[in-house]
Each structure stands twice: as structure tokens, then as C-alpha cells.
């Protein structure tokens, strides 16, 4: 069977009408294919996220990763990420605007099946959850160890004025959460609090808490990598997306 993929940088209209960069990987062929917005993590719009975006395309998704750091300047991802870190992170509203633009783009494609998921890890796990609560148009969301979903009042800033957990009632699609027992942000207690909120509002969710794993256990280039948990996590993730984004398969 023929297999092909096209992966390239492009642009999209994001927050505030800005035209930002994005990385778009998709399978060749007429489709129809589901779409996934791949929100990059705090270390930036980097090689790892390029790989993950292509991984989604390999599995038959129109995968679109907007550069949510576009407004901080350009250069190597770690330099830009350092600037973002020093600036206190990227504003939630900015990420939501860029994500909304990405959804609009994906749904406009002739090969789209109209189903859209959102995925993120670490800071972008938090943003994926936030997007699934505050934006319409998602059919599934995956939060991988998103830190800062639960926030104390002292942690709130002008860029992050509301703890995402406070938007749980507005969650508009099924949610998959992958977490590590040894993580310090989110701690198992944070995950438990989020789960209680999801239960309270009768939300459709699926959480997996992995033993002997901490933060970022998918990252094969970091000491946090946990092979067994990562392989299982990817399997669960794709099973979840297949169920909600490609229901006829």
C-alpha cells in the first residue's frame, strides 16, 4: 500500500489577527482525515514537536502545530524559549487565539472529516485542557502531564489570570489525561483535584497515572524518559483519538 506524507512550515491567522508560523504535517491522499492541533511545549516550537506532529500525520491525522512563541522573536527554539521563560510565559489568551485559528484552518481543508483534537504536553498539556474548555470545535483533547491546571491565587498572573480547573464546567469534549506518579507539577494530588471537578460536572474523561514515571516521560532525549510508560501512553492516546475523531473506523 502506498504511504506518503507532506510536512512543511506554513502560516495561519492566529490571536489578534496576527499571521504566525505553523508546522503542518499531513498524510497524502483525499482523506477524509481528522485534524489535531499540536500545541508545543514550554521548551519551544522545537525538533521534538516537529517529530510529534509528523507522528500524528503518520497515524492519519492532519497535524498542525502553531508557533505560539511567534511574537517573542525568532531564532533557535531554546533561545526563544528562554526569552519566553524570562517574560513569565505566553499569555493564555494568545495561545487560545492561535489554537482557534488552527482549528479554523484545519476545518477549512477539503480532506478534513470535520473532527478536531487538541494535544499538548507539560505547559501545553495545560493549554490543551484550557482550549478544550474555552473554545468550541474540539471533539477530543489530550492533556499529558499539564502542570498549572490547578493554581493557587498566588500563582495567578495577568497572563494566566484564571486557573484552568475553574473552567472545567465548560469542557466541551472528551478528555484523556496521562500523568506520572512521581511528577511534582502536576502532583497526583493536583490530578485528583481535577478528576473530582470532572466527576462533579459529569464530564467524559479517561485518566492514566503511570507508576515509576515523573514529568515528561515521552521525551526520549531527556532523563525523564520512561520507555514502557511512553509506549503505553502513545497507544492509549491513539486509541482515544481514533474513538472520538475517526468514529466510523
Amino acid at each position: 500500500m502506498y504511504e506518503g506524507m507532506l510536512a512543511e512550515t506554513t502560516t495561519v491567522q492566529g490571536f489578534n489577527g496576527d499571521i504566525i508560523n505553523a508546522y503542518f504535517a499531513r498524510p497524502l491522499g483525499p482523506g477524509p482525515f481528522p485534524g489535531v492541533v499540536v500545541i508545543h511545549h514550554m521548551p519551544g516550537w522545537d525538533e521534538l514537536y516537529r517529530e510529534m506532529t509528523r507522528k500524528f500525520a503518520h497515524h492519519g491525522y492532519l497535524a498542525f502545530s502553531p508557533n505560539i512563541y511567534y511574537r517573542f522573536g525568532h531564532g533557535s527554539p531554546d533561545d526563544v524559549a528562554a526569552k519566553v521563560r524570562a517574560s513569565g510565559g505566553v499569555a493564555d489568551d494568545s495561545v487560545l487565539g492561535d489554537t482557534e485559528g488552527s482549528v479554523r484552518f484545519l476545518k477549512s481543508l477539503p480532506q478534513s472529516n470535520e473532527k478536531i483534537g487538541v494535544f499538548g504536553t507539560c505547559s501545553s498539556g495545560r493549554q490543551a485542557f484550557l482550549a478544550a474548555c474555552r473554545l468550541k470545535g474540539f471533539d477530543a483533547a489530550v492533556d499529558c502531564w499539564g502542570g498549572g491546571v490547578v493554581m493557587s491565587k498566588e500563582e495567578l498572573t495577568s497572563k494566566r489570570p484564571v486557573a484552568p480547573i475553574d473552567y472545567t464546567e465548560d469542557l466541551s469534549c472528551p478528555l484523556l489525561g496521562l500523568f506520572g506518579e512521581e511528577d511534582q507539577n502536576p502532583t497526583p494530588q493536583h490530578v485528583h483535584l481535577l478528576e473530582e471537578e470532572l466527576k462533579k460536572y459529569g464530564k467524559n474523561y479517561e485518566f492514566h497515572m503511570y507508576p515509576k514515571a515523573g514529568h515528561g516521560f515521552f521525551y526520549y532525549d531527556r532523563p525523564l524518559y520512561r520507555q514502557e510508560q511512553a509506549v503505553d501512553g502513545w497507544k492509549k492516546l491513539f486509541a482515544f483519538f481514533e474513538k472520538y475523531l475517526r468514529p466510523s473506523s
Binding site: 531554546d78 528562554a82 526569552k83 500563582e155 507539577n185 531527556r222 532523563p223
Partner: protein, 87 residues
Amino acid sequence: MCTGIVETTEVKGSGKGPSGWFKLEEVNVSYDHPTDAPLEHALNIDFVNEKMGPGARVAVELSPESARKLVDAILTALSRGEDLSKN
């Protein structure tokens, strides 16, 4: 990168990046996930000049123990230098 712990201060001096020496204006010190050091969290120091763009950066990522040794070494060298200046 999930701690969000960062301290920033102005500095005067120069740093050497990939394109040579440049004027430093700020230093950002964070305790967070490093990019390269094989640690879960590191003390990251970025000497930067924001006006020159994100690439104007001299970066180090240190283990907490190494960072404390660096602080001690800086203070010791400063003290010895300032003592010499007084004489």
C-alpha cells in the same frame, strides 16, 4: 519548564555568543527544566541583550550543587579582588 521560577536583574558587561562578543543588559536566572543538561531541573542562567533578539544569549544550565559552588566562587573572587583594590 513547569516551575515558572525566574529572577531577572540588569547587568553591565559583555558576553560571548556564537557571533562573538556583545553587550549584556540583563541576566535571567531560573530554576526549571533544562534544555540540554541531563537533569530534571537545573539552575539556568541566561545572559542576554533583549534589544538584539533571542539569539543574543549566553546560557548555562547547572545542577543545584554546581550553582551553589559558582555562587561561592563568585563571592570569593569578588572579595579577593575588592580587598586588593583597597590596598
